[in-house]
Symmetry: C3
Subunit: 188 residues, 3 copies
C-alpha cells in the first residue's frame, strides 16, 4: 500500500489525540486518562525538546496497548529519526513532493496534511487516498469535507484543528471522515 | 493560446451548469431544461459510472447546440480519454504541474482550479490566465476575488462552489469574473 | 542568510504600507505623510504603469530615510528588473519553486506569500523562516497565525490583507508576527 496502511490504522482509532508533552512526568497520567476513555492511540507533536524521549518512553511502556504516532514532521531528517524510534504512524501538517518518497520508503503508515483541492490532487498522484484536513476549522470545516466528498469520492480524511468535544461527532458522521484529530480529550 | 481558448469559450457562457448524471434517461429533460433557460453549455462531472457514456450521448444528440465539458479531471489517463470523446472543454478541480503539458497538448480548452495566490502564480508560469476559483464560497468568496483582481489584474476567474441563484449575479458583476459554475439551475 | 536578512529589515518596520501609485505627483505627500506617522518603509505594488518609475524616484529622493520595497513580484524577469533598480526588499504574493533561486541570488531581502501549511513547508525547505501571510483575513486571520505558531514555532509572519487601523495591533501582539502589511494608514 502506498501509505503503508495508514487507513487501516486510522479505522481502528476514530479519535486521534494530538498531544504536546513538556515533561516526561506527564506521560503516565496522560496515557491512563486516554485508556480510561477507550482511546488507544496518541500523536505526540515534535514541538518540545522532550518529544523524542517521550515517544521512546511511551513506546517502551505502553507500546503493546497504544499506537504511538509522531506529528509535525516536515523534514527528511525527522523521518529517518522517527523510523529508528519505531513509531506506529507519522503525521505531516502539509504535503510536499520531496517528502513523498522518504515517507513511502519508511514503511511506516503516514498521513499528510492538505487544505486545497490542488494539494489533494498532488497526493492522489502519489497513489495516496488518506489525508489530514488541517487546519480543518479555518479552511472550510464540515462544508469543505462535504464538497471534497463529492469531488474526490475515493479520498478519506482525518480532520484536525479546532475540533471540540461538541463538534467531533459531526465530523465522524461524514462518509469520507475516517478519524478526527484534536486535543479536546486531554485538555482540562 | 496556452489554454486552447478557454477564455473565449467561457465568454460565450456566463453560466456553467455543473451536473452529475446518474442515469442516461436524465439527459433529455436536463438539456431541454437548460436550453429553455438560454444556457447552451454543460459540465458533466466524472463522479458516476455513466459519466463517459452520458458525455458521448450529449455530444451526439446536442453537440451542435451545446458546449459539452467534462469536470473532475485529475489524472493524465482521463485527459487522454476525454480527448478521444471530443469534449469541448475540460475542468480540473485543482492545478498540478504534471497535468500542465497533457492539458495544453490536448488541444482542448481547459480551466484548472485554484484557491491560493501561490496556486494562481503556478498557473501564470505556464502562461495561463483563466482559472476556476474553487471552492469559491469556502476560500474567501467575493472578497477573495476582489483581492485577486488587484494583485493579479490580468487573470480571469470562473468561481464555482456554493454559488446560488441569489449570489451568482454578484460574482458575474466583478470585472475579473468571466463565468460562474454551479448547480442551482438544475436542482429541483 | 537564506532570505538576505528580510527578518532583520522587517523588525525595524512593524508596519509595511502597501501602496499603489497611479501618478508620480502622489509621491511627495505620500512619503511625508508616512514619515509624519514615524513609518520609514514602503512597499510599492507593480499594479500600475508608473510603478517602476515611482520606485526609482522614491529611492532617489528618499532612499536615505525610507526602505523602499516592491510588491506583486511573480516572474523571474521582474526580479532582475527590481534588482537593477536597487530596491530594499521584494514581496511576492505567493510562493513558487522556480522563483526560489532567483530570489536568493538577487541578494535582496525578500518575503514570499503563503496561505496553507503545505506552502509554509515548501518555504522551510529552502531554509526560509519569514513569510507574508496573505490574504490574511480570508485564510484564517488571527486564529490561523496562532495555529501556525504552535505547528511552526520558528516561523515568523507578516500578515497582509484586510488588516485595518482597528486590527493591526492584535496581529502585532502575536509572538510569531514580525510586521503587518496594509493600506489603512495611507487611505483617506
Amino acid at each position: 500500500m502506498n501509505q503503508n496502511n495508514i487507513f487501516e490504522l486510522l479505522q481502528k482509532h476514530p479519535i486521534i489525540p494530538v498531544v504536546t508533552i513538556h515533561d516526561l512526568n506527564e506521560i503516565d497520567p496522560l496515557i491512563s486518562g486516554l485508556i480510561g476513555k477507550n482511546i488507544f492511540c496518541i500523536e505526540v507533536t515534535l514541538r518540545t525538546s522532550v518529544a523524542f524521549e517521550a515517544i521512546r518512553l511511551i513506546k517502551q511502556k505502553y507500546g503493546e496497548q497504544i499506537s504511538v504516532g509522531v506529528g509535525t514532521i516536515v523534514k527528511i531528517e525527522q523521518i529517518n529519526k522517527v523510523t529508528e524510534l519505531g513509531v506506529d504512524f507519522i503525521v505531516c501538517p502539509g504535503i510536499n513532493e520531496s517528502l513523498a518518497k522518504p515517507l513511502m520508503d519508511s514503511g511506516i503508515p503516514f498521513i499528510p496534511g492538505v487544505c486545497t483541492p490542488s494539494e489533494i490532487i498532488l497526493g492522489m498522484q502519489f497513489g495516496w487516498k488518506t489525508f489530514k484536513f488541517f487546519p480543518a476549522n479555518l479552511f472550510g470545516g464540515l462544508p469543505a469535507l462535504k464538497t471534497y466528498g463529492q469531488v474526490f469520492p475515493d479520498i478519506r480524511f482525518c480532520p484536525t484543528g479546532g475540533i471540540t468535544e461538541n463538534s467531533f461527532q459531526d465530523f465522524l458522521a461524514l462518509d469520507n471522515v475516517v478519524s478526527v484529530g484534536g486535543s479536546w480529550m486531554v485538555t482540562k
